[in-house]
């Protein structure tokens, strides 16, 4: 399936997997992040149950230096 992650297309062989699987795949386990799927926040508690499907638009954000 094709997802859009932080504005960039990303292709995966599997047809569906959980947000948690994606976080693992992207080496983001243990990082303090927040994830939005199609404009809606996916709470951390839902990472393991929320399944991603073709065309999902994801935003993955973290805290950086700023004023």
């Amino acid at each position: 399936m094709q997802l859009t992650i932080n504005g960039k297309p990303a292709h995966f062989d599997a047809s569906t997997f959980s947000v948690e699987n994606l976080v693992t795949h992207l080496n983001l386990i243990g990082k303090r992040i927040a994830i939005e799927c199609n404009g809606e926040i996916v709470p951390r508690s839902q990472f393991s149950v929320r399944q991603l499907v073709e065309g999902d638009q994801l935003e993955i954000v973290g805290a950086v230096g700023g004023g």
């Binding site: 990082k31 927040a34 700023g66």
Partner: protein, 261 residues
Amino acid sequence: MSDLLNIAGKTYQSRLLVGTGKYQDFKQTRAAIDASGAEIITVAIRRTNIGQTVGEPSLLEFLPPEQFTYLPNTAGCYSADDAVRTLRLARELLDGHQLVKLEVLGDPNTLYPNMIETIAAAKVLVKDGFDVMVYCSDDPIIAKQLEEIGCCAVMPLASLIGSGMGILNPWNLQIIIANANIPVLVDAGVGTASDAAIAMELGCQGVLMNTAIAAARDPILMASAMKKAVEAGREAYLAGRMPKKLYAATPSSPTTGLIQS
């Protein structure tokens, strides 16, 4: 003497709030923040760098959220919708944390705030349970409206973000402070220690700055200077300055007992 800053029901010793951007590296960021004595630090919310090296240090490792009060901002947002969306992500990121800095910009060159969008965002955020510290123009009417909406602090600019021009309109700030029932903090435009002291002498409850420290030749020394300036300005405000007059006619030393030639 206990003279604490109270924001949204929580008290702080330090009246200096600092940003975490524009430093050489995280080590310098941490050293400057330690020197500033700040307890509230602003952070930006940005897309995570996908594919980054595993184990690459993050800001949060140098500034643990258990040691500081994080103030996530909406820097770079030009609409109310983007600002609200950013802060909802920040709340998720910081485990339900509700204290936020709202800023909605109107112009990428000057970074002047768009107060129409800011007000729209403030209404949504307050309704959604956020404690909103709001960056704003130094318009007393707008500042009062933001208070009435339910913001927990108003933060008018001293001058434009990153300009270091200091306090350009102390008279407007005085009106805002006189009318406010919530803390007024100067945010943006402070260039050096005297600017911070003047803001505090005017009666501001605190000062928020980033570039004035990060862009100093020696950021850590400037952070220390800002800490002292904010404390000095606050004490001078509480002490109540002497009235200004063109001349005194009554010198500080006795007028009698002078030796005569």
